[in-house]
């Protein structure tokens, strides 16, 4: 805000901090998912993702050996062993479930009838008794352990193979690419006609395209499903490509028409005077010049088709082999609602490609938005 007179530096600070908080607020949800997708499955369930880089505290219990494991030492019966697993450290221990950290490492306690239990800091325990042990099952020692934070890519391996997300990824790609390319071609010709050809009904057609921009998809679902069945297309890729092409066209035509109408008149007029046919003008002049608008729409359509759930559910079918990624994700939310390592990882895989496209092509996306802010998604 350097151009402003009467600018106070405290205000600059306030603006910086407020903006930072806002950005933080908008980023944290996605960040949480990203971090969680790399966490160990047990750790996700026992601590918040914001603690993923600090040591993880956990409680549990181990059983001591039984009477058979006891050895005699100086007139005492002794059972020895360890309560820790590889990589864990002992924070505290206890003999009752309610107090898993009643004693510090190294403490000794008496359980019953002269039984003495000691758990050392390295996790080894020593249970002694003046009389022979007669229990069949070992005594329980409750322990509070610390484990180093574990970050892994295991979740990704599992989700891509076992949960069928790899297949869904291919399905999504198969749906998305033709559904992005084909409307562009059809729309480009139509947009050129609307922008640069004189014919009766042009204004009405343009207005109609704008009107169709906001038609709710829901209106089209039942009739088109019936139509596809009657035509023998049924449920499948062909149907969904056609549907996405139809639904994407209004925005495509609208964006491209706006852009093409803004191209310099002289270029087109002089080409006409030179005897170029409309087709040549379109191919050699309009198409190359309209690249930014074509890119804008391509990104919109790509994001929209990739992220769509409704059209895919209705037109593609719901068997395991047919699901796109949003469909799998939705199914996982129902069946594996508590298994956050799977959900987080799957969700992140499904949003990774759109995010890449978004960050790589943001310029065109913004341009497209500014050109066509009548559209409603």
């Amino acid at each position: 805000m350097e151009g402003m007179a009467g600018q106070k530096s405290s205000l600059v600070w306030a603006v910086n901090i407020a903006a930072f908080l806002l950005v933080l607020l908008w980023t944290i949800p996605t960040l949480g998912l990203l971090v969680s997708s790399f966490r160990d499955r047990d750790q996700i369930l026992t601590s918040g993702w914001w603690q993923s880089f600090s040591a993880q505290e956990a409680t549990g219990f181990v059983r001591t050996g039984t009477g058979d494991d006891a050895v005699q030492e100086d007139g005492l019966y002794v059972i020895e062993g360890t309560v820790l697993e590889e990589g864990q450290s002992l924070i505290g221990w206890g003999t009752r479930a309610r107090e898993p950290a009643a004693f510090a490492p190294g403490d000794t306690t008496e359980i019953e009838d002269g039984w003495q239990l000691t758990v050392a800091a390295d996790g080894t325990y020593r249970l002694t008794s003046p009389t022979p042990f007669e229990m069949r099952r070992g005594e329980r020692i409750f322990v509070t352990t610390g484990a180093p934070a574990r970050l892994t890519t295991e979740n990704y391996n599992r989700v891509l193979t076992a949960e069928g997300l790899g297949r869904a990824f291919m399905n999504t790609l198969t749906v998305t690419i033709p559904a992005t390319v084909i409307p562009i071609l059809i729309a480009a010709f139509a947009a050129y006609a609307l922008a640069w050809m004189e014919f009766p009904g042009r204004a009405i057609l343009t207005a109609a395209v704008v009107g169709l921009l906001v038609v709710p998809l829901q209106v089209a679902l039942i009739p088109l499903l019936r139509l596809h069945n009657d035509l023998g297309i049924g449920k499948g890729y062909l149907g969904i490509w056609l549907a996405h092409t139809g639904f994407g066209l209004p925005l495509a035509i609208y964006l491209l028409r706006n852009y093409m109408a803004g191209l310099p008149r002289e270029v087109i007029e002089s080409a006409r005077v030179d005897g170029a046919t409309e087709f040549q003008i379109f191919r050699k002049i309009i198409l190359p010049l309209s690249f930014p608008a074509l890119a804008s729409f391509a990104i919109f359509q790509f994001l929209w088709v990739w992220n769509d759930l409704l059209v895919a559910t209705v037109f593609l079918g719901n068997t395991r082999e047919q699901l796109v990624m949003t469909g799998v994700l939705r199914e996982l939310m129902g069946s594996k609602g508590g298994e956050w390592e799977i959900l987080a990882t799957s969700a992140f895989i499904s949003i990774a490609v759109p995010l890449l496209v978004f960050f790589a092509m943001q310029k065109y996306l913004v341009r497209g938005l500014l050109a066509g802010s009548v559209k409603g998604g």
Binding site: P29, S36, L213, P216, L227, F282, L303, V314, W340, V374
Partner: protein, 331 residues
């Protein structure tokens, strides 16, 4: 692998088909009315009358079949019974008016309609103003804009994780409950907390749409002539006054466009509710209710279509407003 070839061949056929149509039909037209010879002038005139329709043909066909025809077909189905075999007049609509779930959906849609566009536009405006002249403003903008690229389903997972619930006293893994617990409150099952759960769903859409509002409004803010702002500052206006009295009134038109655009998104909101609560606990909305009648249990196309037509009616005012604006522009 076969999938891959299927996709590749579709693109090839699609692209080739389109090109063949446009090129071929133009070629035929030029054969019939050659733009040379004795009648060249007359031929060119005739050809130019037909040519636009060759260019527009495929688009009109698609728009007609995939968007216009369905509106009329839905209208027809909405006055017929479940399988479309019998005319039932307005009884589907009459049933809707009396249905508790439909009323709940209408009420919820109305609240969504008030809350989401308002908050998205407000946050978008704040974000645009705050980041506009910061050194790191563009990075900040990117990050606020980012949720636009995330699917509603993905956003559903992200936010469900934030709302995750554990018994009081346990380590909370959901961010919201962790904060509540750290502040001494009791953790809640946010998504079943009637009626507030609706707002927790709306948050997701606000999160997604704010970036859109910000991008458009930020461009509009930059378009405000500097002189008006400088004049206000010379007259002793405070930064708040400059923003609310000078800047905001000048971009009212853009705010209206942003508002209506988000309104349309809100009316059609489906995925978020579908994956997060599926309309349970008083969170039903029209689009999800319609899906229920279309695909759950025994489909009732009559009632489903009636709900679709209601949705269509709700967007119609915006549709007409947009069309009038564009017709003014084109002329």
């Amino acid at each position: 692998m076969e999938l891959f070839w299927l996709a590749v061949s579709t693109i090839a056929i699609g692209v080739f088909g389109c090109v063949a149509w446009f090129w071929g039909s133009n070629w035929v037209l030029d054969r019939i009315y050659p733009p040379r010879g004795p009648d060249a002038g007359d031929n060119i005139r005739k050809a130019n009358q037909i040519r636009p329709w060759l260019f527009l043909g495929p688009a009109i066909l698609f728009l007609g079949v995939y968007l216009v025809y369905p509106i009329f077909d839905s209208l027809w189905r909405s006055v017929h019974n479940a399988r479309g075999t019998e005319f039932v007049g307005g009884s589907n609509y009459a049933w809707l008016m009396g249905d508790g779930k439909f009323r709940e959906s209408m009420r919820n849609n109305l609240v969504w309609l008030l809350v989401v566009p308002a908050l998205s536009t407000l946050f978008g405006l704040i974000a645009a103003q705050l980041t506009d002249r910061l050194k790191w403003g563009n990075i900040g903008k990117s990050l606020i804009f980012m949720p636009m690229a995330i699917s509603f389903v993905g956003a559903g997972v992200i936010w469900k994780f934030i709302y995750e619930y554990r018994e009081p006293g346990e380590a909370q893994i959901g961010l919201l409950n962790a904060i509540v617990q750290a502040l001494g409150g009791g953790p809640q099952l946010w998504l079943t907390l009637i009626p507030w759960n609706n707002f927790f769903l709306m948050v997701v859409l606000v999160w997604i749409q704010t970036g859109f509002a910000m991008v458009i409004l930020s461009a509009a803010l930059r378009g405000i002539p500097e002189e008006t702002i400088e004049a206000a500052i010379l007259d002793g206006a405070s930064p708040w006054q400059v923003f609310f009295r000078i800047k905001v009134p000048q971009i009212m038109g853009t705010i209206a466009v942003v508002w209506t655009t988000i309104t349309i998104v809100v009316l059609k909101v489906f995925d978020i509710v579908f994956v997060m609560t599926n309309g349970q606990w008083g969170t039903q909305v029209l689009a999800n209710l319609m899906y229920d009648w279309m695909f759950r249990g025994t489909p009732d196309y009559g009632r489903g279509s009636a709900i679709a037509i209601i949705l269509m009616l709700l967007v119609t005012p915006i549709m007409i407003w947009n069309m009038l604006n564009v017709r003014r522009e084109v002329r």
